[in-house]
């Protein structure tokens, strides 16, 4: 009898271990599925709740904003930089691969410049080095000048760059440009408008077609903005004349742009009275012109 009890106890213990193992495995599977589904970790949930004022620790249904540290890219593609906006552009100055020194103008010119930050050692860059061998087949707009920037000779092998460098595209070895443009890694592309010096767009991809798509999108956005501007309805002549007449009358009365009386609450506004005494011009306080309340 005692032996049976012992055997049963052992059996129960073994079954208990099996059940615990199954439960643990099940929990592990659920956690992995949760991760694949883009779910928030417990800590992140707490942070998100804190950011939203702690309304609820539960995950809201529907789409959500993905923070930068949650972005995952392919191993061969650089993640976006931490900053939010574009950096300032600058001209490029460095050394070439033929024991030469050179400068390239990026700002203060009529054309745009596509600055390609490449490396001689990254595998993905090889596709772009190959693409730049025939710049006429890149499909770039006529006003875009491609320029390749690698890191300086202290960090990049000039011999390796010389083996892959295209003949018709300038190659500048300049580490400081990577810092100035805040480049996260290679390959990376920055499109600079030479007239304004502003960065029109930046990004990367796993091949030239993807980068070309980015450039096309930038071009489309610019064209769309120009189209909107061209379709802007002109102000009616009567409105324009009325505004001019009002401005002239106000200026003649000593009321210029930003005058406090323009933003007062009416004749009872103490600021209006104070301003009135500061001028010797006669204002009609009893019947304030509605134009001054604009």
């Amino acid at each position: 009898m005692a032996a049976v009890v012992v055997i049963l106890a052992v059996a129960v213990a073994v079954l208990t271990l099996l059940v615990l193992g199954l439960l643990r495995s099940h929990a592990d599977i659920l956690r992995r599925l949760h991760d694949l589904d883009g779910g928030l970790e417990e800590g992140a949930t707490t942070r998100a709740a804190a950011a939203t004022g702690g309304r609820s620790g539960a995950r809201a249904a529907g789409p959500r904003t993905v923070s930068r540290d949650e972005v995952r890219t392919f191993p061969q593609v650089q993640a976006p930089p931490e900053r939010e906006g574009f950096t300032d552009s600058r001209d490029l100055v460095g050394v070439g691969i033929d024991d030469d020194a050179l400068t390239i103008r990026v700002t203060g010119v009529e054309h745009r410049t596509l600055v390609a930050f490449l490396s001689g050692s990254c595998l993905t860059c090889q596709r772009f080095w190959d693409a730049f061998q025939k710049p006429q087949k890149l499909g770039l707009p006529r006003d875009v000048r491609p320029v390749i920037v690698t890191k300086g000779p202290d960090q990049e092998s000039p011999a390796a760059i010389a083996r892959v460098a295209p003949a018709a595209v300038p190659v500048v070895m300049d580490t400081s440009a990577w810092e100035a443009y805040d480049i996260p890694g290679s390959p990376y592309f920055v499109l600079v408008d030479g007239k304004t010096g502003l960065v029109q767009g930046e990004g990367t991809g796993i091949d030239w077609d993807q980068v070309k798509g980015l450039l096309t999108q930038i071009q489309d956005d610019a064209s769309y903005a120009e189209d909107l501007e061209s379709r802007r309805v002109a102000k009616y002549k009567a409105d324009d004349e009325r505004e001019r007449r009002v401005d002239e009358e106000l200026l003649a009365a000593g009321i210029g742009p930003g005058d406090p009386s323009l933003y007062g609450d009416g004749p009872d506004d103490p600021r209006l009275a104070a301003h009135q005494h500061a001028h010797d011009h006669p204002h009609d306080h009893d019947e304030p012109d509605e134009r001054t309340r604009a």
């Binding site: 033929d98 030469d100 020194a101 050179l102 400068t103 103008r105 203060g108 010119v109 018709a168």
Partner: protein, 165 residues
């Protein structure tokens, strides 16, 4: 911006770009991207070449700016400094000077161009500076602007410094 290589230093004004290069011995064009792109020239050993322009300089260009002058127009200026061999230094064609010679508008003409381009004008000065023989070759994109462009070229070449060999 400053560029410096092969014993030549140049300060570029805003809006200018430039390059100091030296063709690899035994090659004609210095083209990159493959061995087949080079053409062997036995015995050739060229000196450094400085190119400066107030426009975007193309990659494929010759020592005296061929390839670049084709793109030049009104308002464009190209300054080229080509060094010759040491046997030329101090000879009659290359008089010794203390600084890069100045240019005047009257020195420019279409006959001064290496290859005549409609509407353009060029000027050449040969000299020896610090024991090194050079040719200063300047091209103006619009010959009607030779006066002010000569002044601009002088402002740029005044900043050029050459070290002794």
């Amino acid at each position: 911006m400053r560029i410096e290589a092969h014993g030549i230093r140049a300060e570029l004004p805003n809006g200018w770009e430039g390059r100091i290069s030296r063709r690899q011995p035994g090659t004609l064009t210095g083209r990159r991207g493959g061995a087949s792109a080079s053409t062997a020239v036995l015995g050739e050993d060229t000196g450094p070449v400085l190119h400066m322009g107030n426009f975007a300089l193309p990659e494929d260009r010759g020592d005296f700016g061929s390839g670049a002058v084709d793109l030049m127009g009104t308002g464009h200026l190209l300054v080229v400094l080509v060094e010759y061999g040491p046997d030329s230094a101090g000879t009659a064609l290359f008089p010794t000077v203390s600084q890069v010679p100045r240019l005047t508008g009257r020195m420019f003409s279409s006959q001064g161009l290496q290859r005549v381009q409609r509407g353009q004008a060029g000027a050449q000065r040969f000299f020896t500076l610090n024991g090194r023989a050079f040719c200063l070759y300047t091209v103006v994109g619009d010959q009607r602007e030779v006066g002010p462009m000569a002044t601009t070229a002088n402002d740029v070449t005044r900043q050029i410094q050459v070290t002794a060999p």
